[in-house]
Subunit: 271 residues, 2 copies
């Protein structure tokens, strides 16, 4: 986002705040930020973008809101929305906050993982838009529009339920697939020499940051367990078809799922 903001407004002055001093140095060296800063300067900000793990988001956002000036827009970019929106309900500066989930990114983290124009054609879910001051909504939407985002409005419960299927479950499936093959590899040396792009595609997300994903699974526990149970059941059914040598059934399972081709056509790819 910092990259895009600098591109869209060369006069923008970007203050970076990070727990990790190395990341701040890196962000400065990469030109992502102009100034290394801290919470003491939050009152100067026009816009604050909070991009931190969703557990610390719950503790940090109230502090950030307390510190900013009355005209400052605060947005987040976390993968869960229910716990955060709930925790901020009664905050005196709730109207300064816009709850966002831009659905974009890669399995990589840190300043060097930033990608310019990442958001072009990507969906940004906004929750509880009516709770944000109208003037600040306008500022946010103008920025998102310039970045090329498609906006969808949703309530936090629906967001967390849906995103469990199309994002959180994919990460678990990927991590456990990686684990299954790594466990095997202890005894079978040649296995990774045989891995092709299909394997790479299905385990790509297993490179994701545990520090980012543990609190996501924690906050969305109930929805994630539901998706996981349905997924395990489908895998068990597939195994049963194999055990019963029901190859017509296996063909039909795959054929029915092939319609994902049409569905995926609408998803912009970005690795």
């Amino acid at each position: 986002m910092a990259k895009d903001i600098k591109r869209l407004d060369p006069n923008a002055k970007i203050y970076g705040v990070d727990n990790d001093p190395q990341h701040l140095d890196e962000a400065l060296a990469l030109g992502l930020i102009d100034i290394k800063s801290d919470y003491d300067e939050l009152h100067l900000a026009n816009i604050v973008i909070a991009s931190i793990p969703v557990d610390v988001m719950l503790t940090e956002l109230p502090i950030i809101l307390d510190a900013v000036n009355d005209d400052c827009l605060v947005i987040d970019a976390g993968s869960t929305k229910f716990a955060l929106c709930k925790s901020l309900t009664d905050h005196p500066k709730r109207r300064n906050f816009l709850a966002c989930h831009p659905i974009a990114g890669t399995e990589f983290s840190g300043p060097s993982a930033a990608i310019e124009r990442l958001y072009e054609g990507k969906t940004n879910i906004i929750c509880e838009v009516e709770k944000t001051a109208f003037k600040l909504q306008e500022i946010a939407l103008e920025l998102f529009r310039k970045m090329g985002m498609r906006i969808r409005y949703m309530n936090p419960e629906a967001h967390d339920k849906h995103i469990a299927y199309v994002s959180h479950l994919s990460h678990i499936s990927s991590f456990m697939l990686g684990k299954t093959v790594i466990e095997k590899e202890k005894n079978e040396r040649d296995i990774f020499d045989m891995a092709g792009s299909g394997f790479e595609s299905t385990v790509r997300l297993a490179k994701s940051s545990p520090a980012m994903w543990t609190p996501i699974f924690q906050q969305n526990k109930e929805n994630v367990i539901e998706t996981l149970e349905e997924y395990i059941e489908n895998l068990q059914d597939f195994k049963k078809l194999l055990l019963n040598e029901d190859y017509e059934g296996i063909y039909n399972e795959m054929n029915n799922t092939n319609k994902i081709k049409g569905i995926l056509k609408g998803i912009p790819l970005n690795k």
Copy 2:
């Protein structure tokens, strides 16, 4: 392969044989083949590349071997090797055949899915190399070298066991992930609007051809069931950690699997 052969040897004359007349017309129009042909002309061939589903491979390869001349090299490109190698053990022209599995390709099928230079840096598993006439091995290896393939030699049992982990399981995980989300979508309209590149990556293989994959699962049934059981067990363990709110355990699971980063570095990407 036809694309690469034409590039490497502009004088090569490529005869196309296909059950589906539309595919033959398409291949001709795309310049993949020079002549639409059939088994009656097999005796003219220097090299035959059999690229058909692995079940019909078992019935067609003996017929092809019967028809070719004594100096013809016949190679296959199937994802299973044990059943095929076993079925050809006593064929009088066994020495004309080289059992191959070039690990490359995409989820798409048909002539229009062909990709030039697909094999650059990709692994090609060769099984039972000692059963192929030395002169024909040389011809095959020279061709593979020019295409940029890395060659690995393996016995058919080991091939089928390993490939179940790094390819066949990925396809099942992808198909069942797609199914889980499609089932949900019946009631939840907005779900695919929220899908990003992470979801796309994990379900990409669910676009694969059921006609190609059903016989692969059939021929490699026992190995595939073993991998599927280990995968389901790992998913169930992950679910248990979530149910027990053991977030340290979840963090460790993901952290341990992160080492896939280093492992995947060696895999050439090709979508």
